[in-house]
Amino acid sequence: MSNTKYILGHFEDPDVMMHGIEKLQENNIKIYDVYTPMPIHGIEDKLGIKRSRLPIAAFCFGTTGLLLGFSMIYYMLVYDWPMNIGGKPPFAMPDFVPVCFELTILFASYGMMFTFFYANHFFPGRAPRVMDLRATNDRFVIAIDAKTNPYPDKINSLLNEAGAIEILHNERKYVSYE
């Protein structure tokens, strides 16, 4: 067996590539991932990618912010240091709303951002991992895991038939920017 880890099929046109995905799937070849320089409608459905769970995270962070904001202002204005503001009772609900609202938004937005960074390995100083640099420029790249799909020649011919302009057999998963 060769040392090929991933087979990459380069396409110049998104429609041709979408057709290529269909072709590979018809032949029971599992696609590892697809890299494109722009978003393509309907590609998630085609590849069977599950919906992002980011909204659930956002909801949890938002709820946390809401509870935290409420507890904070309750502790400050009702428990720790009750103040007479305009003759209102210390536990004046309408006053609490803006604080709770703002903290909900703060937590939801920052929580969502950091969750997104965490899930995508965006850390400071971390070089981004890409399987093919041209996928960020002008090529539409289908990546196939060569270890789980044992017939490289068949994959080659299928990609060629589908209109791939370049086929790479990479021994390393990622290329670096250097």
Partner: protein
């Protein structure tokens, strides 16, 4: 996806027959009976005032929903939105009913003014005359603005201008059907931009006049936006409900759950916006606690109104936010149908809370007059809107962004 391989019949026309027609006519008859009951057979003390308050409420609601249709059209043209191109004929039908709704509202207002059943806070004999027993210093200061002829003049000018723009937008779209090309789209874009500027500046004044002046001693600059938010949410709900019901009846094959999702996002977002302006108005008045401002909420916190006051927030904020938060619920027809009907009822209650404390005051009632007149106007709206809808094909087939709408995918 799924829209690629379908073939759509773009010359499809809505046929206004059967159940829809029967039920809307029955609702109109119920409305007429309720009005007759309110004026002639209801012998309680404030029956005429109560009937007029309900007529004003529903006349205003009716006009607002139609105006929201025109606003929806203008917004889509100005934003050069593509997703909505396939369902524009529905707000167009709303917009074409606007002139009729305007006439109905103006008739109610004039009758209410001259029979002294509406706007009696500022429209009384000698209210601006020093030394007269009815003299009211505050109202006298506002008399150059709040007087019957100028008031009616403003109503006619505002609603007339809205109606002209609404009809023009519809006309360009029908011209586009026969002529094709981009010239009608460009014209629509231009007049939409002009319309939005006029509408944005005048709707607050229009709502100050029609609703806020019921309690003329009180004023709030948030009131215009608060009313705009209510108008826009209820208009969106009516549009969405019409789309869903048409789709269930087998029309609009080109509208799918993606379009529904966008309408749902609109309803969700503007329900929150409505709450935002409602609360912004409430919080400042509650916090500052100045008697001339708190009088408005004082009336609404009397025992007759307080439960309704809180129900209003629950119906128009909590319910849509909790129900529509997930993606799936916005894409399901059954959930959206429920939310739309619920919010249309909720905004009826919202308008009820705006109108009633200033008109019937502590003699609040909920009975035959309220339900009957609400049903009557709902029937009138359905009947007029569906008959306008049935006159033309259900899609603007030469709309430049129609293809984008067909492939809309989110």
């Amino acid at each position: 996806m799924g829209t690629h391989n379908h073939t759509h019949n773009f010359n499809q026309q809505f046929e206004f027959t059967g159940k829809a027609k029967t039920w809307s006519l029955i609702a109109i008859i119920i409305g007429v009976v309720a009005i007759a009951y309110g004026f002639l057979f209801d012998h309680s003390e404030h029956h005429a005032e109560r009937t007029f308050a309900n007529l004003l409420l529903m006349g205003y609601y009716f006009t607002c929903v139609c105006a929201a249709g025109a606003f929806f059209l203008a917004l889509q043209f100005v934003a050069q939105a593509g997703w909505s191109a396939g369902l524009l004929r529905i707000p167009q039908a709303f917009a074409r009913v606007l002139p009729i709704a305007s006439v109905v509202l103006i008739v109610i207002i004039i009758a209410g003014l001259y029979s002294h059943n509406l706007y009696h806070h500022w429209n009384q004999e000698g209210i601006a005359q020093e030394g007269h027993p009815n003299y009211d210093y505050l109202i006298a200061q506002k008399a150059s603005f709040l007087n019957a002829p100028f008031f009616i003049g403003r109503q006619i000018i505002f609603l007339g201008v809205y109606s002209i723009f609404a009809l023009l937008l519809a006309k360009y779209s029908y011209n586009e059907d026969t002529v094709g090309g981009l010239s009608n789209y460009h014209k629509s874009f231009k007049i939409s931009a002009i319309f939005l500027v006029i509408f944005g500046f005048t709707t607050p004044i229009w709502s100050f006049d029609t609703i806020m002046s019921l309690e003329a001693h009180w004023f709030s600059t948030m009131f215009g936006w608060y009313n705009f938010a209510a108008m826009w949410v209820s208009g969106l709900c009516a549009i969405t409900l019409t789309v869903i019901l048409l789709k269930k009846a087998g029309y609009l094959s080109w509208v799918n759950s993606n379009h529904l999702h966008d309408l749902g996002k609109f309803i969700f977002a503007f329900s929150i916006f409505w709450t935002y302006v409602w609360f912004a108005q409430f919080l400042l008045i509650w916090y500052a606690n100045m008697p001339e401002e708190t009088v408005y909420f004082y009336l609404r916190w009397e025992p007759e109104y307080k439960p309704w006051f809180w129900l209003n927030i629950i119906m128009n904020f909590l319910a849509p936010v909790l129900i529509l938060m997930t993606r799936d619920s916005k894409r399901q027809m059954s959930v959206m149908t429920f939310v739309c009907i619920f919010l249309l009822c909720g905004h009826w209650l919202d308008y009820y809370m705006m109108v009633m404390p200033g008109t019937v005051e502590s003699h609040r009632t909920f009975g035959i007059t309220e339900i009957g007149i609400a049903l009557g106007f709902a029937g009138l709206f359905t009947f007029l809107m569906l008959s306008k809808l049935a006159q033309k094909p259900l899609v603007a087939k030469n709309h430049p962004f129609l293809d984008e709408s067909l492939h809309h995918h989110i």
